[in-house]
Amino acid sequence: MLQLSAITKTFRLAKRRKTTAGAIDPRERGRTFYALDGIDLEIPSGGVLGLLGQNGAGKTTLLRILSTSLKPSSGVVLCDGEDLTKNPLEIRRRIGFVSGNTGLYGRLSAREMLLYYGRLHGMQAAALRERIDELSATLDMEAFLDRRNETFSSGMRQKVSIARALIHDPDILLFDELTTGLDVAAAESVLAVVEMCRERNKTVLFSTHHMDEVDQLCDRVAILHAGRLCFEGDAAGMRQQTGESFLDKAFLKIIKAEPGEVAA
């Protein structure tokens, strides 16, 4: 289980920024920008949590904190009772992270890259080879496993990224806007991986802008708005709270009800 208590993440700004409407972003206090502001959230083991929010809401920052890339400015994250910041190396063994922006080493082949990350995770050669074969079969990568990454399409790249995140068989998966920029077929095969992770009782945090993906995959939903958590429940709860049958409209109604709504 992941437990987040009063998580705040601030960044120092070079200068104050204005929105296009001329207003100062309420998350800016002096030269400090509050990317996350007092997030309390419990994520039980197993199942898919959909993390929703507009661009800049703080989803990626939250996922980066959970992946140990960033440290929270204040607050505590516990992973099965263990403080994330105290023993990040141990937590990293249990986490796999993929975002729409994570890249590949263009001059390496997919296999070389998977071998590299497997070795960094301390996997033995035989186990690693076996795992690569298993993942390439699951993700349908056999045809391009030995080709250089720089020659891949977006869909192929995303598959390799997912294989890289799954190479050490982590029990927590952080997927940040996984289907951004993918065509329908590629997005479908990538979503099948999320489905597979759920079936294998992995804990998945899945950030997305696509409400159909939320309907299709997420057991629970958390909505971030302007660095704060403004909804926690499930898709049915979103519909019930807003009285909207379409999830897009329910999402918009929830964030517009927030005091921190920023004119875009």
């Binding site: 992946s67 960033l70 440290k71 994570t102 080493y105 301390g122 995140a165």
Partner: protein, 403 residues
């Protein structure tokens, strides 16, 4: 720990060696360009020297009648060709337009001065702005020869007949110069400052591209974040990357030195005379010691440039941030080439300059090995401190996720 460091190191090395630009800068440049450059330089210098010595110089002479003997000497000098221009007023224009190489003007009073055995003045007009011109020395040789004959005649008239007496009159005290520097020292003094400059510059070039690729390049490609999620301490990632960048510098240096060594081995046999002897006096041991001195330099460059690169948001920003460092790094190497800058404890305390001067001393064969050890030790310490800084730098969120 060693496993993770070597995993990162070998992956990074494979990555950079698969890049054409890196191969070009690190491998092709020393193997192909250095010998070509040296060959062209030597050929150019020799060609220029040969041409300036054998070139036929066209000249005009005004006031020939005031010193006909001198005019005759000029006319009889090989590779001097007398020509004419309309008037003395056009002399400067004719020289500037390369119509003639020089002009001699013998004033009217020169005749009376020579007749009364006083000193006469003759004017030489030539293009002194041309650095490759040997007009002055060739004309001086002719005038010196004429002077010698005239002096001899005048001294005989004065009763100084024997050549020993003439020498005693002309030069009562003769200064006999006895240089103690052997050919190797002379070479070291002349080119010993140049070699480190080239080696340090090539070492820098060998480090630049890998540093950009493995620092800012990782951010740009979006692979840095995935690497940071590997369950290994960040200092091991830095160490692996450092070793790969450092190897880039070392490979460049070794290839340069090997290339230079091979070139020396071939050229020393081909070139005769002083130049051949000078080039041949550099041995493989000297080259090995030179290479050793460049190890801490490569380590300093690798640590510093990796720190700069990881700070940059992308490769173009890294390139523009690194460019000023190129100048800052090269200036101390240039200092070693300045006249009067010799290795002492003051210069030994200035990073890079001390390495350059030590390399110069190594070429000269006059190295104080206590000082060499001190320089090697202090440079290694600086490289270590820079690597430590790089590790700390790599742990900062504000550097890795710069907004």
């Amino acid at each position: 720990m060693r496993g993770s460091v070597t995993t990162v190191f070998f992956k990074e090395l494979r990555d950079i060696l698969r890049d054409r630009k890196t191969l070009l800068l690190m491998i092709m440049l020393p193997i192909v360009v250095v010998p070509l450059l040296l060959n062209s330089l030597i050929s150019f210098v020799m060609e220029q020297q040969k041409e300036s010595e054998t070139e036929v110089l066209e000249y005009v002479i005004f006031g020939e009648e005031h010193a006909p003997d001198l005019a005759k000497v000029f006319a009889e000098t090989k590779r001097f060709k007398k020509t004419t221009i309309e008037s003395q007023e056009e002399l400067v224009t004719a020289i500037r337009s390369d119509e003639i190489d020089f002009g001699i003007v013998i004033p009217e009073k020169a005749a009376s001065r020579l007749a009364e055995k006083s000193q006469a003045t003759v004017e030489l007009h030539y293009d002194n702005a041309s650095s490759g011109s040997r007009v002055e020395s060739r004309v001086e040789d002719v005038v010196d020869e004429y002077n010698e004959e005239l002096t001899k005649a005048r001294l005989i008239e004065l009763g100084v007949t024997s050549s020993r007496k003439r020498r005693a009159v002309l030069e009562p005290v003769h200064l006999a110069e006895k240089g103690t520097g052997d050919i190797r020292e002379v070479l070291g003094d002349n080119v010993g400052g140049m070699l480190p400059y080239f080696f340090i510059a090539f070492c820098f070039m060998g480090v630049v591209y890998p540093a950009i690729h493995l620092g800012a390049g990782e951010k740009e490609r979006g692979t840095l974040e995935t690497l940071l999620l590997a369950p290994i301490p960040r200092h091991q990632i830095v160490l692996g990357k450092f070793l790969a960048v450092f190897s880039g510098g070392i490979i460049a240096v070794l290839l340069n030195i090997a290339s230079l060594g091979t070139w020396i081995a071939i050229k020393a046999g081909q070139l005769r005379g002083t130049l051949g002897t000078m080039i041949g006096s550099i041995g493989w041991l000297d080259l090995t010691l030179l290479a050793l001195m460049l190890v801490p330099v490569a380590a300093m460059f690798a640590s510093l440039l990796l720190s700069v690169s990881i700070y940059a948001r992308n490769s173009p920003e890294a390139s523009s941030l690194i460019s000023p460092f190129g100048i800052v790094m090269i200036v101390p190497a240039v200092l070693a080439m300045l006249p009067g800058v010799e290795l002492n404890w003051f210069w030994a305390s200035i990073p890079i300059t001390n390495i350059s001067l030590a390399m110069k001393e190594l070429v000269k064969g006059t190295m104080d090995y206590t000082m060499l050890l001190a320089i090697f030790g202090s440079s290694t310490l600086i490289a270590g401190l820079l690597l430590f800084f790089c590790t700390k730098w790599f742990n900062r969120e504000t550097v890795l996720f710069r907004m």
